[in-house]
């Protein structure tokens, strides 16, 4: 299987701070992998994830995402690359003035799908996350678990090759968390999407094979 993410001697940090957050890390994520990245609070899990979608450029070393060198990628290429990603945030990052249905099809709006196509896909996706009856409501009228399901549906809208999730169940109860994990397992198995999840804790019940990367003392190690 081809690598979808490849890091060699990767160092990450913020420009306003000289301290490195990730240092000299080497790892590869293959197409179709389901990867958990864990580590203590402040270890740099979210920072690492941000570097995958180009919000943070490597300080040194190489980071290839979908064959693109993330330290040199142009704005236009990055824009194009991101349309192949599905990103899920801990605090959902939904557009609160848009309806649930419109939020779900954001990637399709960006891709220029026509309104009929958007409506068809919104119905399909909302049915998939069991929120069909909420299509016309605003996100803030729904519970946290429901909002995160909208976030997952949005991430799946365009059959992404890579799903990046930052603490997707961090704010949710056990039931809602299990629903989210089920959706992500399905995305990995049925859509063949590569899934990278940053989390504090790997769920107890997880039915598919996965890899586990751990961040410790600024390094990234694989747990076997």
């Amino acid at each position: 299987m081809a690598n979808i993410i490849s890091a060699s001697h990767l160092t990450l940090g913020y420009s306003n701070n000289d301290v490195d957050i990730i240092k000299n890390a080497n790892f590869k994520i293959k197409k179709g992998d389901f990867v958990f990245i864990t580590g203590p609070s402040g270890s740099g899990k979210s920072t690492l994830l941000r570097s995958f979608y180009g919000q943070l450029r490597p300080t040194s070393g190489n980071l290839l995402v979908g064959a693109q060198d993330m330290s040199k990628i142009s704005k236009k290429k990055l824009q194009e690359l991101r349309t192949h990603f599905g990103i899920i945030f801990q605090d959902y990052k939904l557009i609160n003035e848009w309806s649930v249905a419109k939020n779900v099809v954001l990637p399709l709006i960006i891709a220029g799908y026509n309104v009929d196509m958007q409506e068809t896909q919104a119905k399909r996706l909302l049915k998939h996350v069991k929120l069909s009856e909420h299509a016309d409501r605003l996100p803030l009228e729904l519970s946290g678990g429901e909002q995160q399901r909208i976030g997952v549906a949005r991430a799946l809208a365009k059959n992404p090759t890579l799903i990046l999730a930052d603490e997707p169940t961090g704010n949710l109860d056990e039931y809602s968390s299990n629903v989210i994990w089920d959706l992500m397992e399905n995305a990995n198995e049925q859509l063949d999407a590569t899934v990278v999840v940053v989390t504090h804790r790997i769920p107890n019940i997880f039915s598919i094979p996965y890899r586990h990367l751990i961040i410790e003392n600024k390094g990234i190690y694989e747990v076997h």
Partner: protein
């Protein structure tokens, strides 16, 4: 309700700016028309010892546009009737030639004095009367009003611009997260800011229509009813259809600059 409030908050300062600009345009048109009237009404009286052609006057000063010779024969003949031993021809020969000299543009007292100096320097010209004092004082008053209006319009535009910028900051804040989320999902700048441009353009069109409607109302309805002679006479100057294009262009320019500031200010940050 919030949607309407958002629009009003932007339309209101835009209206103030456009109202100020249209007031300035109207006053500028009026001042030009007034200048034209002054120029048409104004003439110098020049007395010469020999007959002189327009080309000779023009050689002396380029701002002279036309000259009329004053007919004196009928007056002289009337005068000669009351005098014994002096014929009209004798009087005619002893009198100089009288010319009314018109200028091509309106000039202030200083410039008129310069022309007078050039004319009087010619050996064929005996005397020049400029009559500048009376019309100069009314023009000075007019200039004063014009400057006051400039200051007023400038102040109004400046304070309204501040209101527009304030509203832009509110927009920047309220659209920040949406624009950043869209950017994360790969939306182009145009797509991210499209909604802002759309909203701002609607507001600019509304403000243009409202301002134009107000001045059109003044010209076509209010002035007729007002019976104020000076306004009725100059009602055409209160509003011209080309003003809609001028106001529309200015409004568009303002919104494009304002929205660009918001878009640039919303560059991708840490989500």
């Amino acid at each position: 309700m919030k949607y309407i409030k958002d629009h009003i908050m932007f339309i209101f300062p835009m209206l103030a700016i456009l109202f100020g600009i249209e007031s300035f345009i109207v006053f500028d048109r009026m001042s030009k028309s007034y200048e034209q009237e002054l120029r048409a009404d104004y003439s110098m009286l020049v007395l010469t010892s020999k007959p002189m052609e327009l080309s000779r006057f023009k050689k002396l000063d380029g701002s002279i546009s036309s000259v009329d010779i004053m007919e004196k024969r009928s007056i002289v003949e009337e005068m000669a009737k009351g005098m014994s031993g002096i014929s009209a021809e004798d009087i005619m020969q002893s009198l100089p030639y009288f010319y009314t000299v018109h200028l091509g543009k309106y000039l202030d007292a200083k410039a008129i004095e310069k022309i007078r100096g050039k004319l009087i320097a010619s050996e064929d010209i005996k005397s020049v009367e400029t009559f500048d004092q009376s019309h100069n004082s009314s023009y000075n008053l007019f200039l004063f009003i014009k400057i006051v209006l400039w200051v007023f319009v400038g102040f109004m535009t400046l304070s309204s611009l501040f209101l527009v910028i304030k509203q832009m900051e509110i927009w920047q804040f309220s659209h920040k997260e949406r624009m950043q989320v869209m950017e994360i999902f790969g939306a182009s700048t145009m797509l991210r800011s499209g909604i802002l441009f759309k909203r701002a353009i609607i507001d600019a069109v509304m403000a243009t229509i409202l301002t134009s409607a107000l001045f059109a109302f003044l010209r076509f309805v209010w002035v007729e009813r007002s019976n104020i002679e000076i306004l009725t006479k100059n009602k055409k100057l209160l509003f011209e259809y080309q003003d809609i294009a001028i106001l529309g262009s200015i409004a568009m320019l303002i919104v494009i600059v304002a929205v660009t500031i918001v878009v640039v200010g919303n560059r991708e940050g840490k989500l």
